[in-house]
């Protein structure tokens, strides 16, 4: 057996099968597991907290993915053009990507601190607010804060993916179009955009998968608050497994989340596949 197969077997297939097996049990963290068939899946149907966590995760995924692309695509176009200090720009935009998500979250917790952070005291010093506002204390501002943090952290990565797509477009095509009298907008929508289909598909699938599985930033920055309004699907699975100690039920929730993720990824790839290749 080749090492690759061995590694996939140990670190992917075995845990996957084990999770599936555990999901058919009442499996407490301490104590003896008991086989209960599909009971966990039946319980799930009425588990409103899980479905509301799922709903929140989907909303977060849509919002954060749009935000990331809205920032990353202009950045990619910006650093694609030959200009002075291009290396500095590329490095600067990519830099937050190499910070761990946990460390980045902790950094932003401090930036967002109402008394000793950056934003609240700055708003007060500038005279924009009378009292410092706890940005993580209300849902709206907490949600926006996390989206801004994630965009700051991830946009550089998406930018690099989109940049490879931009650079794989042959210059001759654009030149020929220009000679034929096409303006910059026409070139963008008729040549650049269609030829980046595959790159978009890759960046989109990565972004959506990452967002559906979001946990760290919510655990660290809001602890699921204010008042449990920012609990994601993975957060709920974590709570089920390691706060309530129901490992079997947590495994069943994980399997459902996996199914949702596979379904979403397949849908995206179908929508964004090359017409010619199909």
């Amino acid at each position: 057996m080749s090492p690759a197969v061995l590694i996939v077997g140990i670190f992917f297939l075995y845990p996957l099968v084990m999770t599936g097996w555990m999901s058919l049990h009442d499996w407490p963290l301490l104590g003896v597991p008991e086989f209960i068939g599909l009971e966990n899946y039946a319980t799930m149907v009425d588990d409103q907290k899980f479905w509301s966590a799922m709903g929140f995760t989907l909303i977060y995924t849509v919002v954060v993915t749009m935000a990331i692309f809205a920032v990353a695509f202009p950045l990619a176009l910006f650093v694609d053009q030959p200009r002075r200090l291009i290396g500095v720009y590329r490095t600067a935009f990519f830099l937050p990507v190499v910070v761990g998500l946990g460390s980045a979250s902790l950094l932003w917790v401090w930036l967002l601190n109402v008394d000793t952070g950056l934003f609240s005291p700055a708003l007060k010093m500038l005279g924009l607010v009378e009292r410092p506002k706890a940005l993580l204390g209300q849902f709206d501002t907490a949600f926006i804060s996390i989206v801004v943090m994630v965009v700051w952290k991830i946009a550089g990565f998406t930018m690099v993916i989109l940049l490879t797509g931009l650079q794989s477009i042959p210059h001759e095509l654009k030149e020929a179009a220009r000679i034929d009298g096409a303006g910059p907008f026409r070139i963008f929508f008729k040549i650049t955009f269609p030829l980046m289909r595959r790159t978009f598909a890759l960046a989109l699938v990565l972004s959506v998968a990452g967002s559906i599985l979001a946990f760290d930033q919510f655990y660290i920055m809001t602890s699921g608050g204010p008042r449990n309004s920012t609990i994601t699907a993975v957060y709920w699975i974590f709570n089920t497994s390691f706060v309530q100690f129901k490992l079997g039920y947590g495994a069943a929730l994980s399997i459902v989340l996996l199914a949702v993720l596979v379904l979403l990824s397949v849908l995206q790839l179908i929508v964004l596949r090359d017409k010619e290749a199909a």
């Binding site: 109402v114 602890s223 204010p226 008042r227 449990n228 706060v243």
Partner: protein
């Protein structure tokens, strides 16, 4: 809760600052008696201890928590006898006094005065809570009370920052009952 009485940061405080009382900027805080032992190292801190009063100030209430001595299911009968002996030992006046010295309140109210003799007088005040306090006990205690996303934490936040205390109490009651029911 009237708006503006609580510091802005309270709404997003995950509880990691709950000993901030000793910084001297907080007027009043609900804490366990263990804090008396923690604050003992802080000679500059001048504070008093009292029980949590009701609205009219005529009675007090308390929540009794602590560590448990537990015998697990399936323990052999010959070992049970030894465990029994240890439990009796742990509840002697001598051991209760020793635990008090290390910062734990004596659980035997009949010998509390004896066990607390010569210690910080604030312990004696806190020890009154043992007689009136209630301890909810459940196999799902962790889910009910300790989970930062659980019904108890949600209830406190709803009560402090929301507008409808009665609704918060009702919601917490329903949530907690659902957890208890699903555990059986």
């Amino acid at each position: 809760m009237e708006k503006g009485l609580l510091p802005e940061g309270a709404a997003s405080d995950p509880g990691s600052n709950f000993l901030a009382f000793q910084n001297g900027n907080i007027g009043i805080q609900a804490l366990g008696a263990f804090a008396i032992g923690v604050f003992a190292g802080n000679a500059d801190l001048n504070y008093g201890v009292t029980l949590i009063p009701n609205e009219e100030g005529t009675a007090a209430s308390s929540f009794l928590g602590g560590e448990n001595l537990v015998v697990t299911k399936g323990t052999a009968p010959d070992k049970i006898a030894v465990v029994q002996k240890f439990l009796e030992f742990a509840y002697t006046a001598e051991r209760q006094a020793e635990a008090a010295k290390l910062g734990s309140l004596p659980v035997r109210t009949d010998i509390a005065d004896e066990a607390l003799a010569g210690l910080d007088a604030r312990y004696a005040e806190a020890a009154k809570a043992v007689a009136i306090g209630r301890t909810p006990y459940s196999t799902v205690f962790n889910e009910l009370f300790n989970d930062p996303n659980g019904p108890y934490a949600q209830f406190m936040a709803d009560g402090m920052f929301g507008d409808d205390l009665d609704a918060a109490i009702a919601a917490a009651q329903e949530d907690m009952q659902a957890i208890v029911d699903s555990a059986n």
